[in-house]
């Protein structure tokens, strides 16, 4: 019975994973899922899964020229690095967000100030 439940839930999860980019070319992988899991129960395991997913989105886009890193992904990863105490990586990803999306300028300025202090 529990095995059946597990199989069914695995199927349900697999059904949710959509990877096809729309006309904008943004590649989201299963961002909503790992983000929701982290929001639902914030702990080291769910955070690592979400972080790995963000890194995966970026590496996928780096190797697929038609895929674009969606708004906010670089910044979100940078913030996780900052919380881990990896300031250099944080600054690098905050700057990537700012150069990719100039609309982020004000927020990135705030984040860089936080990083320096």
């Amino acid at each position: 019975m529990s095995r059946l439940l597990l199989m069914l839930s695995l199927l349900a999860v697999a059904g949710c994973v959509t990877v096809q980019p729309g006309p904008t070319g943004f590649y989201w992988s299963n961002y909503s899922q790992t983000l929701y899991d982290y929001k639902k129960s914030p702990n080291a395991t769910t955070l690592v899964k979400h972080k790995t997913n963000l890194e995966k989105i970026i590496s996928y886009c780096d190797s697929h020229p038609q895929a674009k890193v969606p708004p906010g992904i670089y910044a979100e990863l940078g913030k996780i690095y900052l919380d881990e105490g990896k300031q250099d990586l944080a600054v690098r990803y905050f700057n990537l967000e700012a150069t990719t999306y100039p609309e982020s300028a004000v927020l990135i300025k705030t984040l860089l100030e936080q990083t320096e202090s």
């Binding site: 943004f26 909503s32 982020s104 004000v106």
Partner: protein, 244 residues
């Protein structure tokens, strides 16, 4: 006595027949006018200020959750960025903006209703703020089926004028019954899984996508500025009056 029963049966049958004809005509007319029918408004007619103001970036703030589902806000915020960016907008990273608001003591959207959008725009550098009220998130569970009814009301406000740029409400009912291929017991188990422990992310994503779809395309969409004539706005879903 007999004739009375006969008469009432005839009357009843007639009522049923009239009802069937009415139903059929509704069904047929429903088919004749598709989603591009004349009753739908164009994006330009419904949301003209978006075309003149051309907002590029959106700050998504925490939901005002009036439903009985404590988790509804999380479902909303985990699934809203994707459809907004697909529509062509720069969405400020919600996890970060939520954290910053949290540090200021704000974790519920209701706390923000008294803050002018303009002020939020200055703090975060956003052209528009997206508010949402979750009116309903109801799960119904039957023996052999189930569904989720979700009702949301969105409001995108300009941070330069504090005016509404786009307002929309929608209600969807999503069937969470199993596929029914596993016999009676299988169907019962499947329904139980789908309705009680199911992850509602696909439901939330569907609800958000359906409404955001009516928003004029933003800068990052290849058809930015060219979709004004597209008739996808259901006038019944427009919000024109504030309900206090």
């Amino acid at each position: 006595m007999m004739s009375n029963i006969y008469k009432s049966t005839v009357v009843r049958l007639r009522i049923v027949r009239i009802g069937l004809v009415a139903l059929l005509s509704v069904w047929v007319s429903g088919c004749a006018t598709g989603p591009s029918g004349p009753q739908y408004l164009s994006k330009q007619e419904a949301f003209g200020t978006v075309y003149s103001e051309r907002p590029k970036s959106i700050l998504v703030v925490p939901a005002v959750n009036q439903s009985t589902a404590a988790d509804a806000g999380n479902y909303y915020s985990a699934t809203i960025a994707k459809p907004l960016t697909e529509q062509g907008y720069y969405v400020l990273p919600i996890t970060i903006t939520d954290q910053i608001l949290n540090q200021a003591g704000i974790s519920d959207g209701a706390q923000l209703l008294s803050v002018p959008a303009k002020r939020l725009g200055e703090l975060f550098g956003a052209d528009a703020v997206l508010y949402v009220t979750i009116n309903l998130w109801d799960t119904n569970y039957f023996v052999l089926g189930g569904n989720v009814t979700v009702k949301l009301e969105y409001r995108m406000v300009s941070t330069t004028t504090n005016e509404n740029l786009w307002r929309y409400k929608d209600q969807v009912v999503v069937d969470t019954s199993g596929s029914g291929n596993n016999g009676l017991l299988g169907a019962i188990i499947e329904t139980a899984i789908n309705t009680s422990t199911q992850d509602y992310l696909p439901v939330a994503h569907q609800v958000n996508s359906r409404s955001i779809y009516t928003m004029p395309y933003g800068l990052y969409h290849p058809q930015h500025g060219q979709d004004g004539i597209v008739r996808v706005v259901n006038p019944g879903n427009l919000v024109t009056v504030d309900v206090e």
